[in-house]
Amino acid sequence: MTLMTKPGVLPQGARDAMPPLRVEPEAIEEAAKLLYIRACKILPDDIKEGFARLDAAETDTTARTILATMIENIGVAERMDNLLCQDTGIPIFNVSIGRNVQVDGWALKEAIGKGTARATREHPLRSSVVHPITRRNEHTSCGERVPVINIDFTDADRELRIEMIPKGSGSENGSFLQMLIPADGVAAVKRFVVDRVIQAGGKVCPPTIVGVGVGGTSDLCMHLAKIAATRPLGTRCADAEGAKLEAELSEAVNSLGIGPQGLGGDSTAFAVHVETAATHITMNPVAVNIQCHSARRASATFTPAGIAIGF
């Protein structure tokens, strides 16, 4: 057995009979530009449905007025082809590469940066990105390691998906990590989430999606919280214990009376989402990352049939 890959020794499965999906950098650049602008303007259907659910159940008068204003804003943005929120956020691109896909990874990253900068200049969008120490703004929405590009691989045949998330800063500032210990148990995880939601109050622009990461390492835990916060409403944690926690915590945070914009009411969060990862025998990490009500996403899916734009 050899660890060297030689030409001609790869197994000839059915997959190989199909030519691979080739995705060119020019198409990725166009998609990145389009997705950034689209995400800033059109809220996904699951979030719109989330608003309708909260509006139907809300009992507080002020809260109902605020929700009505938010719902009105979604319509105004679509009718006037304008941005939902002035915060163009930190641009995040989640790239999922399926099997039998041919793409130049380096060129892909460059193309995403170019598309982001073009969206910023050509629309124009406010560049919300600065150097962390000098605070200099290049007016491109780009900088060192920004856009944030997360690359993952999936089992989907000849499919490449790019998800764009303009992560608003008001809610991103509502990010918290604690390296709890095993003796603290899951009770401390629950307390942490409830207390951070109280602490965040109206600053994170409720109603929110409260993203909770449980387990992993410190960095993975925070990344899980971000995945949870940006997951579509109606989806559940794949882990059964995580899903149970989601249901319990969703009810809990909506019993606090914080309400839309922190001005009182039942609608504090659309949902609490949990993502889990295995962790060390000595560790019990928990992270919270919050998504504001302008829970924006846009996606482009490249397949042999073409490019599908969605959420």
């Binding site: 304008n82 406010r126 409830v194 994170v204 922190g262």
Partner: protein
């Protein structure tokens, strides 16, 4: 709960007439400020050409498009999307904004803290809550970006907006110690124990 229409600028008596829970619509002029604007004004000693006495400022940093300067547009910008940012980061600038610049009203989202509430009482001021994240709607209340100062800080410059029917806004902190945020926080803190007990996490 009264509704007030305020033509800016206003007097101390006018701002002291506002009570938490009232609603307000602003007319005429509104100034836009943000983190960097205030860091430069108060930490780096920079001064603005604008007279802010009696005026309202909003915590913002707009999306703008460059246009030709004209007779009424001294800024060279038009508004693409103007919204509101989280106020809490700018808490420590409330008192200097009022003491040094004479600002009467701060508009923002998410609220300010005890120090600002005290400044509103001492000096005569109020905090009006706008619905954060509803920027497309808010933009329809902006008639023009009339002028700009400290524009090297773009997009965190000091903007002078001409407004029409800006609101309704909610008086969330008043000059009499009333704060809707403090009330909501006290209620949430009171409910916390029961919530944790139900979770088996008390």
């Amino acid at each position: 709960m009264a509704h007030h229409v305020l033509h800016m600028p206003i007097t101390e008596d006018q701002v002291r007439a506002l009570r938490a829970g009232d609603t307000v619509t602003l007319e005429e002029i509104l100034f836009g400020i943000r983190d960097a604007t205030q860091i430069h004004m108060f930490d780096h000693g920079r001064r603005t050409k604008f007279d802010l006495r009696g005026h309202a400022v909003i915590h913002t940093a707009p999306n703008l498009r460059k246009v030709e300067r004209s007779g009424t547009n001294h800024s060279g910008y038009e508004a693409v999307c103007v919204g509101t940012t989280t106020s809490d980061r700018m808490e420590r600038f409330t008192r200097p904004l009022m003491e040094r610049e004479g600002v009467r009203i701060i508009i923002g989202k998410g609220g300010l803290r005890e120090g600002s509430l005290q400044a509103f009482q001492d000096l005569g001021g109020a905090y009006l809550a706008v619905v954060g994240g509803a920027a497309a709607l808010e933009t329809t209340w902006i008639e023009a970006v009339e002028d700009v100062d400290l524009d090297d800080l773009n997009p965190e410059s000091l903007y002078k907006f001409r407004i029409r029917g800006f609101g309704p806004l909610l008086v969330a902190m008043d000059a009499h110690g009333g704060s809707l945020y403090a009330t909501v926080n006290a209620e949430a803190t009171k409910r916390r124990q029961a919530v944790l007990e139900k979770l088996g996490a008390a």
